[in-house]
């Protein structure tokens, strides 16, 4: 029997399409600061550098990068606030 695909619904989503480094990280940081620990942020970006930047930022801040997906040139990062 096929299982239903897991759908993760973020608590907040921000659209950084068209913006370049450092803005996707700056806006993610602002968004995360206003969220509660355990909540999930989705960030959309089409900056080719945002993949490496988000991984580095999550590693430094300790936030959990739950999922990275890409469709039609747009990345979707799911980050869980850990602290």
């Amino acid at each position: 029997m096929a299982t239903e695909p897991k759908v993760i619904i973020p608590d907040r989503e921000i659209d950084c399409i068209g913006l370049f480094c450092p803005m996707p990280i700056v806006k993610s940081r602002e968004a995360i600061q206003a969220m509660r620990s355990g909540e999930l942020l989705a960030m959309l970006s089409d900056d080719p550098a945002s993949d490496a930047d988000m991984r580095s930022w999550c590693q430094i801040t300790g936030n959990d990068l739950v999922e990275v997906s890409r469709a039609d040139g747009v990345y979707r990062f799911l980050v869980r606030k850990t602290r």
């Binding site: 480094c21 990280i25 940081r29 089409d46 900056d47 080719p48 550098a49 580095s56 930022w57 430094i60």
Partner: protein, 394 residues
């Protein structure tokens, strides 16, 4: 070297972040702000005065760059000039952007302009750099493709100060018939520079880095190199950068370029290099677990950058500021995001070093007394902060 006299209260060592405008530049700018000589396109006599002043400024910038005067296109600064160079060349003559070669240690305005081309269907080769931030010219040669439109490598890495082997890179790009763009913001007037002779095709100029007013700059383009305008309007600057020219600032840029050339002839770069060497030698001895980033020998004469283990740059900069010293971490982007800068990542810095990046840039008004004052104040700050960072004894 003798010590430099009484310690000054305030020491400014962030010239690469912002340079004070030279009073001689300001004096020349003033009538252009106050007397109505403003629009070089105006039909009246004040307009023709403005045109003459604008063209005089153009020749002065061309002399500093070492290229033909008509090649100078005035812009609002280096970021716009970098965008005009990269987008202007890569987007010209085709329905999609072609291939561009750049390096991982470039200014963010170069990298982001390249990433934007990538999003639009172009291809970008971002070359790695060595541990000192240097690009290997052979890597440029290997990256060239039949559809390569442009190579963009800065004269020096702004964050770690290393000069790039531009003459060697230019030999390769000339032979391949590919235009070479150099962001020469830190290098102009500080290291010998001759764009046409060295085989450069496009050169980015920043006014403020020459002690001119902020908000002005230029892109020098070798005659014959075609670019696509990025700012459309009334056809100013030969149609390549529309919008009424910011005449007071551009006249200031012209004077600043002339002064930079004159002072280079009177040994200013050597004076700065002597102060810089004293500073680097003393910091690397008096601050434990601290090392110079970038090349020791091939670097901008006014530039000193370090990474320190076991301490955060933000804390050091705050403490330095409290005792009157203005410096920077070298990267405005990294400071805004709280993540390690792309240049430190590119040169392979250890993660524990990347948070402790400090950059000191000297300038026309830097003195021995100022350098010595920072040498007195920096080591105790680092010692104190490291002690605070250690876990308390049980």
């Amino acid at each position: 070297m003798e010590r430099g006299g009484a310690a000054p209260d305030r020491v400014y060592l962030d010239y690469a972040g912002f340079s004070p405008v030279d009073p001689r530049v300001l004096a020349v700018m003033r009538p252009f702000l106050e007397a109505g000589i403003g629009n070089p396109s105006a039909p009246h006599s004040l307009g023709s005065e403005a045109r003459e002043s604008l063209e005089a400024a153009r020749s002065k910038v061309a002399r500093l760059v070492g290229g033909a005067t008509p090649g100078v296109i005035f812009t609002s600064g280096a970021t716009e000039a970098n965008n005009l160079a990269i987008r202007g060349v890569a987007l010209r003559g085709g329905d999609r952007p072609r291939h561009v070669v750049t390096s991982a240690a470039e200014h963010i305005s170069v990298l982001n302009a390249c990433r934007d081309l990538e999003k639009g269907g172009g291809a970008v080769s971002v070359l790695p750099v060595d541990a000192e931030g240097r690009v290997d010219p052979e890597a440029v040669r290997r990256a060239l493709r039949p559809d390569t439109a442009l190579v963009s490598i800065g004269s020096a890495c702004a964050e770690v100060g290393t000069l790039q082997p531009l003459a060697d890179i230019a030999r390769i790009t000339r032979a391949a018939g590919v235009p070479l763009h150099a962001d020469a913001v830190g290098a102009l007037g500080r290291v010998p520079f001759a764009a046409e002779g060295a085989g450069l095709d496009l050169v980015t100029v920043s006014s403020n880095d020459l002690y001119g007013p902020p908000g002005a700059g230029a892109l020098w383009v070798r005659p014959g190199v075609k670019i696509l305008p990025q700012m459309l309007g009334g056809g100013q600057e030969g149609g390549y950068r529309s919008g009424t020219e910011n005449l007071p600032a551009l006249v200031g840029l012209g004077v600043a370029a002339e002064l930079m050339r004159a002072e280079a002839g009177h040994g200013e770069p050597a004076r700065l290099a002597t102060l810089r060497d004293r500073f680097v030698d003393a910091v690397t001895v008096s601050v434990p677990d601290c090392r110079l980033t970038g090349s020791r020998a091939d670097r901008l004469p006014h530039h000193a950058s370090f990474v320190l283990r076991g301490v955060k740059a933000d804390s050091v900069l705050l403490d330095l500021d409290l005792c009157g010293v203005a410096a920077s971490s070298g990267s405005a982007c990294a400071q805004r995001t709280g993540t390690p800068s792309h240049v430190l990542r590119a040169i392979g810095c250890a993660p524990e070093e990347m948070e402790g990046s400090l950059c000191f840039t000297l300038g026309r008004w830097s003195t021995l007394a100022e350098v010595d004052a920072v040498l007195d104040r920096l080591p105790p700050i680092v010692t104190r902060l490291r002690a605070l960072a250690l876990p308390a004894p049980r």
